[in-house]
C-alpha cells in the first residue's frame, strides 16, 4: 500500500487519502457516526457482520458476492448466549470481568458508561443497549451494575433473570452483594460464575447444587483453612446434579429438624389526596427455611387458599396438586428459599392499615410554604403498626425545612430533596404529627407539582389478607420436625398523592 495519496480514477478528482492521512483521521476522528455498511465504490460495499447476515438487505443492495476480510476469533459463528460479564461499581469502574469464550475488550462498556452518565438515576439506565457489535444487557442491583455482553439474539429476560440469579447467589454465599465482598472473594465468585454458566448457557443455578461444588465460606472454615491451607472448593465431587431432584442436595443431615415459614405480605397502594384508594393490592411471599434431614415430602395447606388470586412457585412445588386441591406439595430445597409468591387482588378489598392527613401549601409570593402531616392507624386488625417511615420527595425549589415532630425524628437531604420522617411505633392515642415551614429558593416561582408520600410500615403477626396456614405435613421421613409459621405485613409501594 502506498503511503502517498493516490488518484485511483483518472476521470475523477477524488484522491484516496494515504495511510498517514488516514491515520490522522483516526486520531482526530471525523465526527462521522458509525454505519453498518458503506458504499465505498460504485457497487462495492464494506459492511460488518450484521450487514452480511441480513440477506434481504443484501439482495436489496444487489450484492452478489461477499468476501470475508474479518480477522479474529469470533467472526465465524457466534453461538453463545452470554458472552461476557462485567461488574461495574457506581463510579463506573469495572472491577470484575469474566469471559466465557474469547475476550471482549472492556471498551465495550463505554457505551454503557455513556448511557449511565446520561441517566439521572441509575435506575434509568436502559437495561438493553445496542452497540455496533454487541448488545449490552445490564441490571442494577445493590448499587452495582451487572453488565453482560451478548452477540446474538437471546430473550432479554433470560439474561436479566440470570444476572439476578448471579446477584442472589453472591448474596446467598457471602451475606451481601457489594463491591467489597466480591473483591474479597474474587476467586470464589469467579468459580461460581464458571459453574453457573457453560459456554454462555446456564448450567447450575440452583443454590443447593452450587453449594455442593463450592462450599460457602464460614468463619469456622476460614480458620480451618488457614491451618490446613485448603480452600473452599469442594473436596468431594458433587452429587447434586445427578439426583432426580435437581434442587435438593442428597444426604442432608440435621440434629434439629426444623421447618419455618414466613408469610410476608406487602401492601401496594396508591391513595389519592382525599385518602380514597385508587389502587390497592397485596403481594405476598412465603419464604421458607427448611432444615430437614433426608428427603422429606412436605404438604402445606392454607385455611383459605381461594384468597390467592395469582401464584407462582418454586420449581419444587407440584403444580397439578395445587390446581386440584389447593395445597402446596413439595420436596423442599435445603435451606432458605422462596416457596411461592402470590397476589391478592384489589377486588377483595385490601385493608389499608394507616391513613395520612396532610397539607402542603406554598405561599403565593414563592418564598416559603407550610407542611402539616399526621399519620394514624386505620384498619390494623388490632395489631400495632411499627416501623412507620414517611418519605416525601419535595419539589426542587425547596431549600430547607424547619419542622417539628411530635414523635420520631426527621431528616431533610437538600441534595436529593427528600424528607424522611422516622416515626417508629404508631400510638393510636397520640397521633404523631409533623408540621412546620418550608423555605424556598428565592425568586423561584411557586412549585406547581405535588410531592407524594411514600410510607413504610410493618405489622408483626398479621397477614393483612387474612391468609392462614392450616397445617404442614411431612411424609417420607420418620422423625418429627419442628414447625413454625410467622406472619408479617409490610408496606410495599405504598404511595399517598398530595
Amino acid at each position: 500500500m502506498s503511503h502517498e495519496a493516490v488518484r485511483v480514477d483518472p476521470d475523477m478528482e477524488y484522491l484516496t487519502p494515504g495511510v498517514v492521512d488516514l491515520e490522522q483521521m483516526f486520531w482526530t476522528g471525523l465526527g462521522a457516526t458509525y454505519t453498518h455498511c458503506n458504499q465505498v465504490w460504485p457497487n462495492l460495499y464494506i459492511g460488518d457482520k450484521k450487514t452480511a447476515l441480513e440477506k434481504p438487505g443484501l439482495v436489496e443492495m444487489g450484492v452478489t458476492h461477499i468476501i470475508n476480510a474479518a480477522e479474529g476469533t469470533w467472526n465465524n459463528v457466534s453461538t453463545e448466549m452470554i458472552h461476557s460479564l462485567f461488574l461495574v461499581n457506581p463510579s463506573g469502574d469495572i472491577f470484575l470481568e469474566k469471559h466465557w469464550k474469547s475476550v471482549v475488550s472492556r471498551s465495550v462498556c463505554d457505551y454503557f458508561l455513556e448511557a449511565r452518565e446520561k441517566a439521572l438515576d441509575p435506575e434509568d439506565v436502559p437495561p438493553v443497549i445496542s452497540t455496533p457489535h454487541h448488545y449490552l444487557i445490564s441490571i442494577y442491583r445493590d448499587k452495582l451494575f451487572f453488565l453482560s455482553v451478548i452477540q446474538t439474539e437471546v430473550p432479554p429476560l433470560f439474561v436479566i433473570e440470570f444476572l439476578h440469579r448471579v446477584a442472589e447467589m453472591i448474596q446467598d454465599y457471602f451475606g451481601e452483594c457489594s463491591e467489597t465482598v466480591i473483591k474479597d472473594n474474587v476467586v470464589m465468585v469467579y468459580e461460581l460464575l464458571e459453574e453457573m454458566l457453560d459456554n454462555g448457557f446456564p448450567l447450575a443455578t440452583e443454590s443447593n447444587v452450587l453449594k455442593e461444588m463450592i462450599r460457602p465460606p464460614t468463619i469456622l472454615r476460614s480458620v480451618v483453612n488457614t491451618l490446613t491451607g485448603s480452600s473452599n472448593v469442594g473436596d468431594k465431587l458433587p452429587t447434586g446434579q445427578l439426583s432426580t431432584i435437581p434442587w435438593r442436595r442428597a444426604g442432608v443431615k440435621y440434629t434439629n429438624n426444623e421447618a419455618y415459614f414466613d408469610v410476608v405480605e406487602e401492601i401496594d397502594a396508591i391513595l389519592d389526596r382525599t385518602g380514597t384508594t385508587v389502587f390497592a393490592e397485596i403481594q405476598g411471599v412465603v419464604e421458607a427455611c427448611v432444615k430437614l434431614s433426608g428427603m422429606p415430602d412436605l404438604t402445606l395447606s392454607f385455611m383459605n387458599p381461594r384468597l390467592l388470586d395469582d401464584v407462582s412457585f418454586h420449581p419444587c412445588v407440584r403444580y397439578k396438586r395445587w390446581e386440584s386441591e389447593r395445597v402446596l406439595s413439595f420436596i423442599p430445597p435445603d435451606g432458605n428459599f422462596t416457596l411461592m409468591t402470590y397476589h391478592v387482588n384489589a377486588q377483595n378489598l385490601v385493608a389499608i392499615p394507616v391513613y395520612v392527613k396532610h397539607s402542603i401549601n406554598f405561599f403565593e409570593s414563592g418564598s416559603g410554604g407550610r407542611l402539616d402531616l399526621t399519620v394514624g392507624p386505620k384498619q390494623t386488625m388490632g395489631k400495632t403498626v411499627e416501623g412507620v417511615l414517611v418519605t416525601v420527595h419535595m419539589p426542587k425549589t425547596v431549600l430547607s425545612v424547619s419542622l417539628n415532630a411530635t414523635q420520631g425524628s426527621y431528616t431533610y437531604d437538600n441534595a436529593t430533596k427528600v424528607l424522611v420522617w422516622d416515626i417508629g411505633k404508631l400510638n393510636p392515642q397520640k397521633l404523631p404529627n409533623l408540621r412546620g415551614s418550608l423555605s424556598l429558593q428565592t425568586g423561584a416561582p411557586k412549585p406547581e407539582e405535588n410531592p407524594s408520600l411514600n410510607i413504610d410500615l410493618k405489622i408483626q403477626q398479621l397477614a393483612i389478607s387474612g391468609l392462614k396456614v392450616n397445617r404442614l405435613d411431612m411424609f417420607g421421613e420418620k422423625y418429627k420436625p419442628f414447625k413454625g409459621v410467622k406472619y408479617i405485613t409490610k408496606a410495599g409501594k405504598f404511595q399517598v398523592r398530595m
Partner: protein, 1192 residues
C-alpha cells in the same frame, strides 16, 4: 473482530509500541483499548497498566496508578484470604514468584498461586506468560488446584495453542474415567479450549459422550456441540447427527441443552423435531428453567410451520370490528358458536375463500396445554416465553390467560418490568381486552424510573377506550403534576393520542391541553403546543380561538419545536386568523436571525403562505424574510428560501410551477395519525431481543407465517417398538417410585377430579357420537377445550357465571326438565367456586384422547357410542353404576394414549358388579374367612353398597400376561381393624403359569402400614384368584407403592384409595347424628365451620328420587344410612314435603374420626350436601366426590 476495529487499533498499537516498548505483557490488552473511548471507566485501567507488578514493585506509579495499586493490594489480600502467606500480599508478587510457587511440590503453594492468577484474570489483567508454568499442573491431584487450572486454561488456551496441546492427554484420560463427573468436566474443559487442531479429538469425544450412560455426561455433550460448531462450522453435518441422537434422549436433564444446541447449530432442520415433538411437550414441565425457555421458543417456531392458524376464520373479521366481536364473545359460547357458524358461512358462501372449518391439531393443543402451567413459574423468562407462545399460537379466546401472569411480573425487578412492559405494550395493541381488567396495575407511581413510567403510559394509552377513558384521563391529570418533566411531556402526548383515538373526549382533552398552555413550566407548554397542533389539524374550523391564543404564546415560548408548531398552525390556518397572522410574521421577521433552524424554516413557510393569501399586507415582509434567509449560515434554510422565492414570486424565469404555488402550499393536509410506536412490532417474536430493539438482532430467527395447508401431522407419530409398548405403562410406574415430583401430579389428577369433569366428558362423548360426519368429533373436542379455557377465565370473573350455563346448552341433554334445572343452576352455580378449575381438566382429558392416532379415535368414538348406549340403559335400571363406568373408560383411554396401543378396552374387566349381587361379589371375601356376620352393627343390609368399583393394578400387557385388579371390598379387615381391606384379583392370561406371586419392597408414606396377602404359589394359565390384603392409609389419599413380584418379574404398582374408602360405616340414630354434628361444630379450639363443609348442588337428571340419592352417596363413600326418625325409609319413597334429609354416618378407618354426611334435597332438583368431619381434608374431598356422583 471486524475490519473496522482492526483498523482502529493500528495507530494505538503504534503509539504503544513506542510508549511501552519493553512492556510486552501490556501490549495485548492495550491493543484492545479503542481510541474513541471516553476517559470515564477506561482511564483507570489504562493508567494502571504501566503499574503492572513488575514495574511498580516498589510502589511508584503516578496519578490514577496509586489507587489501582491500593486496589490490587486489597484484592490480593482477598484472593489469598486466610492463607499463611498473607505477609507477602502487601507487596505484589512478581510472576517469577508465582512460577516458583507453581513448580513447588506443595499443593498449598500451588493453590495460592493459582488463586492469585485467577484473581488477576478476574480483574482483566494479562496472565498469559504464566501459561507454561500453569499447564504443567493440569494433572495435579488436588481437585481445587485442578479446577483453577481449568479456569486458566479455558481463558488462555486459544492464545497459546501449542502449549495447550500439552494438556490434551490429561483430558483424554479423563474422558475414560469411571466417575461420570470427571468425564463430564473433562469434556467441558476440552470443548472449551478453542484450539483448532484438536477438533477431531473433540468431535470424537462428543460422539462418545452422547451415548454415555450418565445423563449428566450427555448433557455436557450437548453443551459441547455449539462450542465445537463455533470453532469449526465444517463439522456441522457430524454435529447434526449427534444432535439427532441426543434429541431422542428421554431425560429432562438433556432436553434443554440439546435443544439449545439445535437452535445454535441447525435451527433450520425442523424435521429433526417431528419425532421428538410430543416427548418434548410432555417433558417440558420437568426441564430446568433455562432449558424450558429455549424449548418453548423453539416449539413456537415449530408450531408456526406445522399447524394451521387457529384464528384463521376470525382473520376475516379481524379488520375493524374483529376485535369487538372477540371481546363480546369472551366466555360466551353461544355467541362463539354463532360466530363460528357465521364464519363457516362466510367461508363457504363466497367460494373464493375455500376454507375447511378449522380443526385444531391435537399436537397443537398438546403444546398449549403443557405450557400453560409454566405461567406459574418463578422465572420471568419462562413466563415470558409461555406468554409469547400463547400470543403467537393460541386461538384468540385463549390468549387471555397470559395477562395475569404478565401483570404479576410487573412486581419484579425494574429491568424485568421494562422488558415485560415493552411486550405488553405490543400485545395491548392487538388484544386490548386482555389487559383491560388489569388497567390499574399499570398506574404509575412517582417512584418508578422514568423509562418504566413512559412504558406504563404507553400501555394505559393503548388500553383507553370509550368506557374507561374518563378514569384514565383523571389519572393522567395527576401525572401532569409530576416532578419528572420528561414524564409529563410523555403524558401530554398520551393525552393527545387518546384524544385522536376516542372522538368523544377530543374536546375535553383539547380544553385540558389549552389550559396547560398557561403552565409555568416551559417544557409542558411546548409539548402541549405540539400536541394541540396535531389535534387542531383534525378540525381547525372550530378552533380559531385556540389558534389565536397560541399566536400570543409566541412571545413567551422559547422551545423551538413549540414555536415552529405555532408558526405552522398560523400559516396553515391563516384564513381563520387573518388579522393576527401578518402581525406574527412581523414579529418573527424581527427575531429571525436569532431563531433556531426549525423555527426559521417555519417562518419562511409562514411567509410564503401569507404571501399567497394576503400578498397586499405581507409582500414586503416576505421579501425581507427571504432575503434574511438567503444569507443564512444553514444551507437548508438558504435552499428553502431560494426555492420558495422561485415558486411564489412570479418572474419570467420561474416557469409553470409558480402557477400552482397556491395548490402546492395550501393543499389540504391529512391529519396526522398518532400511532403507538409499538404498532406492528409483533412481527418480531415477542420476548425476543429483536422485538425489544425493534430491529433484527444478529441470529434472529424470523417467526414463520402459518402454512396455508397443514403439513402432514403423521410425521410426529412415533412408531413404538414392541418392547416399549409393553413397558411404557410400567415405566410410568417406575417413574412414580423414583421421581415423585413428576408422576405424583399425574396420579393425583384422576381421583380428585370433581363433579363437572366427569359429566362434561360424558356429555361430550355423547354429543360426539350423535353427530355424524367427518371431523365432527375432533371439532367437538376443540369446542370443548375452548370452552374449557374460557371457563378458566371465568374463574377470574365469576360474575360471568351465567353465560357459562348457556355455554353448556349445546350439550344435548335436552330433557324438558332441563330448563327448570337450569334456573336452579344459574342461581346456585355461584356457590361452586371450584368449577372453573376442574372444567379445564376435563377439557384436557378430552384432548388427550384425541391425541391418539386417527384410527383409534374412530374406534373410541364407536366405543363411546356403544358405551353411551349401554350407559343409558344402565342409568335407567341401575343409576349408580354410571360414574364408575365413566371413570374406567377414561382410565383406559388415558392409558391407551400412552401406550399407543389399540387394545380392547375390555369392558368386561371394568364391568361394574350389578347392584343385586353384592353377595356374590363379596363371596370371595367370605371365603377368605371374613364373614359378614362380623359386623352385625354395620347395617349392610340397609346399605345398598353393592357397587364395588374395580381398579386396575397391572395391565395384562404390561404384566406380560398377568393382569391384576383391585377393589375395596368394604369389609372390615379382621387382622387389623385400622386397615382398609383391598381385594386383589389376579388373572393369568399368559400361556404359562405364574409362580410365587407376592409383595415386596413396600414404599409407604410415614405412618402407613400394610398387611400383605400370603404368597400365591402358582397361578395356572387362564385362572383367576382373589386375595385380600390390608392397608392402613393413615386417613390420607396418599398412594401405597409396592412391588408385585412373580418368580420372574417385579412390577411397580401403587394403590391409591378414593377418599370414600377410607371410612367405615357406623350405625347411628338420627338423634345421635344430630348430637354428634353439634359437638363437631362446637369443638373447642376450632373455628366454627371448620368441621363443616356445605355445598349446593343440582342433582343430575337421573338422580332424582330418594333411592337414587342414597345409592349414589353410599357408592361414593363407605357410609351407612342413618334411619330417619320414623321407619319411613323402609316404605317406598314418600318424600317428606318440605325437604327430605338423608343422613349418613361413618368413621375413618385409622383414627376413627366421625364422618357425618347429610343431603337435603329439594323438589326442584337442587340439593345441599353437608359433611361434618374433624379431618378437614377428608371432608373437602368427600364433598367433592359426593357432589360428583350426585350431579350425574
Amino acid at each position: 473482530m471486524t475490519p473496522m476495529q482492526k483498523l482502529l487499533q493500528l495507530p494505538v498499537n503504534a503509539m504503544n509500541m513506542v510508549k511501552t516498548a519493553q512492556d510486552q505483557m501490556g501490549l495485548q490488552d492495550e491493543a484492545k483499548s479503542p481510541v474513541m473511548s471516553p476517559d470515564g471507566g477506561n482511564h483507570n485501567w489504562y493508567n494502571g497498566e504501566p503499574n503492572d507488578p513488575r514495574h511498580a514493585r516498589f510502589g511508584s506509579g503516578g496519578g490514577g496508578g496509586d489507587q489501582e495499586q491500593e486496589e490490587r493490594a486489597h484484592l490480593e489480600e482477598g484472593g489469598g484470604g486466610g492463607s499463611g502467606l498473607t505477609s507477602l500480599v502487601t507487596q505484589p508478587l512478581r510472576h517469577d514468584d508465582l512460577k516458583e510457587m507453581l513448580d513447588s511440590n506443595k499443593d498449598s503453594l500451588k493453590l495460592e498461586a493459582m488463586k492469585r492468577i485467577v484473581a488477576m484474570i478476574a480483574r482483566g489483567k494479562n496472565a498469559s506468560d504464566l501459561f507454561p508454568a500453569v499447564v504443567k499442573n493440569v494433572a495435579c491431584k488436588n481437585i481445587e488446584v485442578k479446577k483453577l487450572v481449568y479456569v486458566y486454561l479455558v481463558r488462555y488456551a486459544e492464545e497459546q495453542q501449542d502449549l495447550a496441546l500439552l494438556s490434551i492427554s490429561t483430558f483424554q484420560r479423563g474422558l475414560k474415567d469411571p466417575n461420570q463427573l470427571i468425564r463430564a468436566s473433562a469434556l467441558r474443559v476440552l470443548s472449551s479450549i478453542r484450539v483448532t487442531i484438536i477438533v477431531p479429538i473433540m468431535m470424537l469425544a462428543i460422539k462418545e459422550a452422547a451415548s454415555d450412560m450418565s445423563p449428566y455426561v450427555r448433557k455436557t455433550a450437548a453443551h459441547a456441540i455449539p462450542k465445537l460448531y463455533s470453532l469449526d462450522p465444517d463439522q456441522k453435518d457430524c454435529l447434526i447427527e449427534v444432535i439427532e441422537k441426543l434429541l431422542a434422549d428421554k431425560t429432562t436433564l438433556v432436553a434443554g441443552s440439546v435443544v439449545m444446541a439445535f437452535e445454535e447449530v441447525c435451527p433450520e432442520r425442523i424435521d429433526l423435531i417431528h419425532k421428538n415433538y410430543r416427548k418434548l411437550c410432555n417433558l417440558l414441565i420437568d426441564v430446568e428453567e433455562w432449558g424450558q425457555v429455549v424449548i418453548i421458543n423453539m416449539l413456537t417456531r415449530y408450531a408456526r410451520t406445522q399447524f394451521l392458524n387457529p384464528n384463521m376464520n376470525e382473520s376475516l373479521l379481524e379488520e375493524g370490528g374483529g376485535e369487538k366481536a372477540f371481546y363480546g364473545s369472551d366466555g360466551d359460547d353461544d355467541e362463539e358458536e354463532d360466530k363460528d357458524e357465521k364464519d363457516k358461512k362466510k367461508a363457504e358462501a363466497p367460494s373464493v375463500v375455500k376454507r375447511k372449518p378449522y380443526v385444531m391439531d391435537p399436537d397443537h393443543r398438546l403444546l398449549l396445554r403443557n405450557t400453560k402451567p409454566l405461567l406459574q413459574s418463578r422465572n420471568a423468562a419462562v413466563v415470558m416465553a409461555v406468554a409469547q407462545l400463547y400470543f403467537h399460537l393460541a386461538p384468540k379466546a385463549e390468549v387471555g390467560v397470559i395477562a395475569k401472569a404478565l401483570v404479576r411480573l410487573m412486581r419484579s425487578h425494574s429491568e424485568v418490568q421494562y422488558v415485560v412492559l415493552q411486550n405488553v405494550a405490543t400485545m395491548s395493541i392487538k388484544r386490548r381486552g386482555m389487559f383491560e381488567p388489569y388497567l390499574k396495575s399499570f398506574y404509575i407511581r412517582s417512584t418508578d424510573p422514568t423509562q418504566i413510567k413512559v412504558l406504563k403510559l404507553e400501555v394505559l394509552t393503548n388500553l383507553a377506550n370509550e368506557t374507561n377513558i374518563s378514569t384514565i384521563l383523571r389519572e393522567f391529570q395527576t401525572y401532569i403534576k409530576s416532578m419528572d418533566k420528561d414524564f409529563v411531556a410523555a403524558t401530554i402526548q398520551a393525552i393527545g393520542r387518546c384524544a385522536t383515538n376516542i372522538g368523544e373526549v377530543r374536546d375535553t382533552c383539547l380544553n385540558g391541553l389549552v389550559q396547560l398552555l398557561s403552565n409555568r413550566d416551559e417544557l409542558v407548554v411546548a409539548e402541549s403546543v405540539v400536541v394541540i397542533k396535531k389535534l387542531l389539524q383534525m378540525q381547525p374550523e372550530q378552533h380559531s380561538d385556540i389558534i389565536k391564543h397560541m399566536a400570543k404564546l409566541t412571545d413567551n415560548i422559547q422551545v423551538p419545536m413549540a414555536r415552529a408548531s405555532i408558526l405552522w398552525l398560523i400559516g396553515e390556518y391563516c384564513e381563520h386568523v387573518p388579522k393576527i397572522a401578518p402581525d406574527v410574521l412581523r414579529k418573527m421577521a424581527k427575531t429571525f436571525t436569532n431563531e433556531e433552524d426549525i423555527v426559521k424554516l417555519q417562518i419562511i413557510n409562514l411567509a410564503a403562505k401569507l404571501y399567497l393569501t394576503n400578498s397586499k399586507q405581507t409582500k414586503l415582509l416576505t421579501q425581507y424574510v427571504l432575503n434574511l434567509a438567503k444569507y443564512d449560515q444553514n444551507y437548508d434554510i438558504r435552499d428553502r428560501a431560494r426555492f420558495i422565492r422561485q415558486l411564489i414570486v412570479p418572474t419570467d424565469k420561474s416557469g409553470a410551477l409558480s402557477k400552482y404555488a397556491k395548490k402546492l402550499f395550501l393543499a389540504l393536509k391529512p391529519a396526522p395519525v398518532l400511532e403507538s410506536p409499538f404498532k406492528d412490532r409483533d412481527h418480531f417474536q415477542l420476548g425476543s431481543l429483536s422485538h425489544l430493539l425493534n430491529a433484527k438482532a444478529g441470529g434472529y430467527q424470523e417467526l414463520p407465517d402459518w402454512p396455508e395447508a397443514a403439513p402432514d401431522p403423521s410425521v410426529r407419530n412415533v412408531e413404538v417398538p414392541e418392547w416399549t409398548k409393553c413397558s411404557s405403562r410400567e415405566k410410568r410406574k417406575e417413574k412414580k417410585v423414583e421421581k415423585p415430583f413428576y408422576s405424583d401430579s399425574e396420579g393425583e389428577s384422576g381421583p380428585t377430579e370433581s363433579a363437572d369433569s366427569a359429566s362434561d366428558t360424558a356429555s361430550d362423548s355423547e354429543s360426539g357420537s350423535e353427530e355424524s360426519g367427518s371431523g365432527s368429533e375432533s371439532e367437538e373436542s376443540d369446542q370443548q377445550s375452548e370452552s374449557g379455557s374460557e371457563e378458566d377465565e371465568e374463574e377470574e370473573e365469576r360474575k360471568k357465571k351465567k353465560e357459562k350455563i348457556k355455554a353448556k346448552k349445546p350439550v344435548p341433554e335436552s330433557d324438558s326438565e332441563q330448563s327448570s334445572e337450569e334456573e336452579g343452576k344459574k342461581t346456585e352455580s355461584k356457590n361452586k367456586p371450584r368449577r372453573g378449575g376442574s372444567d379445564t381438566e376435563s377439557g384436557e382429558d378430552k384432548d388427550s384422547e384425541t391425541e391418539s392416532s386417527e384410527s383409534e379415535e374412530e374406534e373410541s368414538e364407536e366405543e363411546s357410542e356403544e358405551e353411551t348406549k349401554k350407559k343409558k340403559k344402565a342409568t335407567v335400571s341401575k343409576p349408580p353404576s354410571k360414574p364408575p363406568k365413566i371413570d374406567n373408560k377414561k382410565e383406559k383411554k388415558e392409558m391407551s394414549l400412552l401406550d399407543l396401543d389399540d387394545f380392547d378396552p375390555a369392558p368386561s374387566l371394568s364391568q361394574v358388579t350389578p347392584l343385586n349381587n353384592f353377595l356374590s361379589s363379596s363371596l370371595v371375601t367370605d371365603l377368605e374367612g371374613l364373614s359378614l356376620t362380623d359386623n352385625v352393627l354395620s347395617p349392610t343390609t340397609i346399605t345398598p353398597s353393592g357397587n364395588l368399583k374395580t381398579y386396575e393394578l397391572l395391565h395384562r400387557i404390561t404384566g406380560e400376561g398377568l393382569s391384576v385388579e383391585y377393589c375395596f371390598s368394604r369389609q372390615p379387615f379382621s387382622p387389623d381393624p385400622h386397615m382398609v381391606a383391598v381385594q386383589i384379583q389376579f388373572t393369568n392370561s399368559a400361556a404359562s403359569e405364574a409362580k410365587n406371586l407376592h409383595i415386596e419392597d413396600a414404599k409407604l408414606q410415614s405412618g402407613m402400614r400394610m398387611k400383605e396377602f400370603p404368597e400365591i404359589e402358582t397361578l395356572p394359565a387362564g385362572e383367576t384368584v382373589s386375595v385380600v390384603m390390608g392397608i392402613d392409609f393413615c386417613d390420607s389419599t396418599q398412594a401405597a407403592n409396592f412391588q408385585l413380584c412373580t418368580h420372574t418379574r417385579k412390577f411397580f404398582v401403587s394403590i391409591q384409595p378414593p377418599v370414600g374408602e377410607l371410612m367405615m360405616p357406623i350405625f347411628m340414630t338420627e338423634n345421635e347424628f344430630k348430637k354428634e354434628q353439634e359437638t363437631l361444630l362446637q369443638s373447642p379450639g376450632q373455628l366454627m365451620g371448620m368441621n363443616e363443609i356445605t355445598e349446593k348442588v343440582t342433582l343430575g337428571e337421573k338422580c332424582h328420587g330418594e333411592h337414587a340419592v342414597i345409592q349414589r352417596v353410599t357408592t361414593a363413600a363407605n357410609l351407612s344410612r342413618v334411619p330417619c326418625g320414623s321407619d319411613k325409609e323402609c316404605s317406598p319413597p314418600v318424600p317428606l314435603p318440605p325437604s327430605p334429609v338423608h343422613r349418613f354416618a361413618g368413621k375413618t378407618v385409622t383414627s376413627g374420626s366421625l364422618v357425618l354426611v347429610s343431603v337435603v334435597t329439594k323438589d326442584n332438583g337442587a340439593a345441599q350436601v353437608t359433611v361434618n368431619c374433624e379431618k378437614m381434608v377428608i371432608g373437602t374431598m368427600l364433598v367433592k366426590d359426593i357432589l360428583q356422583t350426585l350431579t350425574q
